[in-house]
Structure formats: C-alpha cells, structure tokens
C-alpha cells in the first residue's frame, strides 16, 4: 500500500476549479515529483494533502488511514510535513525558535535537542546565528532552515513546494544534494519543483499535472525523453535532462 494515496481529489477556490479529480500514489521511501505549468494545481495538491485547503470531493489516505477530514495539526502529528513555497520562515522569531516550532507537536521533546544539534552541525550558518532573528538569513539559508524545521516534525512524508525558487545555483546544488541524501536515509518525499530537469533527476516517480488533472505519469527517465514534456517544461529540449544529482 502506498504511503499517501490520493483518489479523485477535487478542490475549488470559489468558482475556480484548481484540482479536477486527481488520483495519485506516493510510495514509501521514494521521491515523487509533481510537474506542471503555473496554475496546474501543484501547490493546491500539497496544501490539500496537508489539510490546509478542504477538498470538494475525493479521499486522501495517509499511512493506511483516511485523513480527508483531519485538521492540519493532526496530519502533521501523523507525519505529514510541508516546506511551503516561499519558505515561510517566521522572521520575528529566532532561528532556534523556528526550529523548535517544527517540533512543537512531538511527544518526545527530549529527543528534539539532539536532532537540533545535528541540524546545526549540518548547517553551521544556522548554528552561529541561532539566537538571531531569522530575518538575517539569506534566501538559501532560509530554505535550509525551512527544511530543518520540517524535519524536526519527524515526518514520514516530506512535501516540498518549489524549494529551489529564488536560490543561487550554489544553493540549488546543495538543496538537491540534501534532498537526495535525506531520501537515501529512508525519507519519502513529494516534490513540486519548477526546475524540471533537476526534479526528474532526483525523483523515482513523476506526475505531470495540467489544469488540475494528471496528464502523464511514470518513470522520470522515460518522461524526460517524452517530446510533449520536453516541449512544455524543458524548454526546446536543448537542456540535457535529467541532470546528474550533485554530490551531497
């Protein structure tokens, strides 16, 4: 059984349909990427999986349980975690407080400090400024903080919404290295990414959304060679895809 099972999901914003019957499965231990143009419904899909928007129809099953009607905080506690588009760091709070907010629902608060230490080890830029307002971080550092914060919820499925948006090439490389490394550690991921080449390079399964519907899905290596996808998202097929995964 899939870790996340979405069936016939429909979401509308007022009269505008954002998702029109999406069915997809995210398998445990794998990276699933969702591709599609702006307005295809990618972010809505992640937000609906988290429970931040209510579906008009359809069911969402997570880890075997029907979570369609569960509020966000219960889904987070059950192991769904979202790194939202634009990172959404709380800039009036310190870096440390942002991290602690990631873990606020965990019953095992004792283990949190050790995990925070591991995150600080990995990102020394965060460690040295842990007691400063998160507003002082660069975009790339904020993205690392957002991922660290989501990891501290100990997710079973980490959902990332456009994580490379606005990052320098160096940070994009670090980001995808981190994504691959976290996945090697067993973490399942659902990745929405505008950098189609990188996303296909790192993912095990790819789903293409168009106007709120799934129009293609399958092996990323196969999809990358599909002329329709190349034309639509890879830009004139001049870019070699998939790109190699950068070293961690």
């Amino acid at each position: 059984m899939a870790l996340l099972d979405i069936e016939n999901l429909a979401v509308s914003y007022g009269p505008v349909a954002a998702l029109r019957g999406v069915t997809l499965a995210v398998e445990e231990g794998r990276i699933t990427t969702i591709l599609g143009a702006n307005g295809a419904g990618k972010s809505t899909l992640l937000r609906a999986a988290l429970g931040a928007v209510a579906p008009r129809a359809g069911t969402i099953r997570f880890a075997g349980a029907d979570v369609t009607r569960l509020p966000v905080h219960k889904r987070v506690a059950a192991g769904l975690s979202l790194v939202p588009e634009g990172r959404r760091i709380l800039i009036t709070m310190t870096i440390e407080e942002n991290l602690l907010l990631g873990a606020h629902l965990r019953p095992d608060q004792g283990a949190v400090r050790a995990e925070m230490a591991a995150i600080y080890d990995r990102f020394p830029n965060l460690a040295s400024r842990r007691h400063m307002a998160a507003a002082c971080l660069s975009g790339g550092e904020q993205q690392m903080l957002a991922i660290g914060r989501a990891m501290l919820a100990r997710p079973r499925l980490l959902m990332l919404d456009e994580p490379s948006l606005g990052l320098s090439p160096l940070f994009v490389e670090r980001l995808f290295g981190l994504i691959a490394e976290l996945n090697r550690g067993g973490l399942s991921m659902l990745l929405v990414e505008q950098n189609t080449g990188l996303a296909l390079g790192v993912a095990h399964h790819a789903v293409v959304l168009e106007l709120g519907r799934v129009v293609m899905q399958g092996d990323p290596a196969v999809l990358a060679r599909d002329p329709r996808l190349q034309e639509a998202y890879l830009g004139e097929s001049a870019e070699p895809a998939p790109q190699p995964i950068p070293a961690a």
């Binding site: 959404r88 800039i91 709070m93 907010l101 990631g102 507003a135 914060r149 919820a153």
Partner: protein, 290 residues
Amino acid sequence: MIAQQLVNGVMLGAIYMLVAVAFTLAIGILNFLNFSIPGLFMVGGMVTWALLAQGWHWSIAVGAALLAAAFVALLVERLSYRPSRDADPEVPLASALGFLILLENLFVIRYGSDQLSFPALLPDFNWRLGGLVIGGAQLVSLAVAVALVLWLSVLLRRTNTGRRIRAVAESRETAVILGVDVGRLVPQVFVSSAVFTAAGGVLFALNYLQVSATMGEGVGFKGVAAMIIGGMGSIWGAILGGLLIGLAEVLTIGFLGADLVDIAVYGLLLALLILRPEGLLGRPAAREKL
C-alpha cells in the same frame, strides 16, 4: 515629594499595564481591537465586590471573578470575534463595543450606577522607606502585575505554547501549516487576556476601595492609549506605556491639579504619536509582534 509621586505613579501604572497587555494580546495575536476588555475589567472588580458582599472568602471571590471574566471572554470570542473573523476588521470591533455596553448595562440594572464601596481586604499597612510611604494594596498590585507580566513573557519566550502564539501573531497561515491548532489557541488567548484585565479590575478595587458598573471605561481607554504609546502589538511596549501613563497621571494630579489629568494623559498620547507614530517600541517597517 516627587519620589512619592513616582512611587504612586508606578503603582497606578501597574494596573494600566495589565489592561494594556490585555489589549495587546488581542491585537497582536488576533488583530482584534477587543473593546469588551474594559467590561472584563469591570467584571473583575464588580463580581469580587458582589461575592464579598455575600460573605464569601476573598480568595473565592477573586477566583470566581477571574473565572467570570474568562467566561465572558469566551462568549465574546464565540459570538463576536469568530463569526466576523473574515469580515472587515470594523465588524468585530463594533460588536465587541456592543458587548461592553451590554455588560455595563446588565450590571447597572442589577447593582445601579453609583460608586459602591469595596471593603478593605488588606490591613491598613504602610511600608515606610526613607521618606516614602508605600501602601499594602499598592505593594500587592505591583507584585501581582509584575508576576503576571513575567509569567506571560516566560510563556511567550520559552514554551511551545508561547512559540505557537507568536507564530500565529506573525502569520496565521504559516502557523496553520506548521500544525498549530488555531481553533484551540484563540480561545486560550481570549482567556489570558481576560485574566489580565480582570486582575487589573480587582487590583483597582483593592487600591481605590470603590467599584462601579462603569469603572472599566476610564481605565480601559487609558489602557488603549498605553498600548498605542508603547507600540501596537508589543508586550514590552504595553508595559512601558502603562507605566508612563500612570506616572503622567499621578504627576499631573500632584503638580497641575486633578482637572487636567485627561488633558495631560491624552496630550502625551497625541504628542508621542506626532513624534513617533509607531509608538515607543513599535517598529515602522517589519513591526515586531509580542
């Protein structure tokens, strides 16, 4: 003489500070100017008075008054804030003001509109320090106010609940994504805000030995002024603003006469707003909340 005035001003300021913090919690976290807060201040003083008059022990009377204020705050949350949360911000403001008038009139019907004398709960005790005289009620007020404010600041800085509250204050949407149960947190904020203001009402009664159905009005508006002077949404701003207004009031009475109190206090507000529109501790650009 001036030292004594400063002491008195700080003691009065402690009460304004509690009311200003109550307003600040509502506006900083919920973006809601909760005009029922002066009514909760009155509930604190009046319910304590009514239960003392029934012969109850002071601890039970005070506890019941705080509970009553918390209950009314939950009603305001349910009937005024929640239904109009997605409407224009003026809507809940007007309905909270309606709550204040309703509360005051209910108490006027039951107890009349006159000043009622509040029994002296504390033995007539004065602490003399050099030339200063500090009353027992003043000391208790200061201790309670400082304890409540310290408790709040530790809660906000050091606990998961506090971080949740501050996350909601900065961005409700982000807080939801992080799994903050806003539907549960909001009533908790209302209750905390009610406890602060109702405690202010009890302390006011303890100091001035009188209560009335409209006792919240003057203090409530000075609480709003204190919040604005300190900087909207900043807890430390509310504390500073409350103390400043208490000092301004007492010093005006001492040196200029009681008739000029409101002119001095609101003149100070006006002058500060002209010089520093964001308040003393408010920040113009990315305003810090809490």
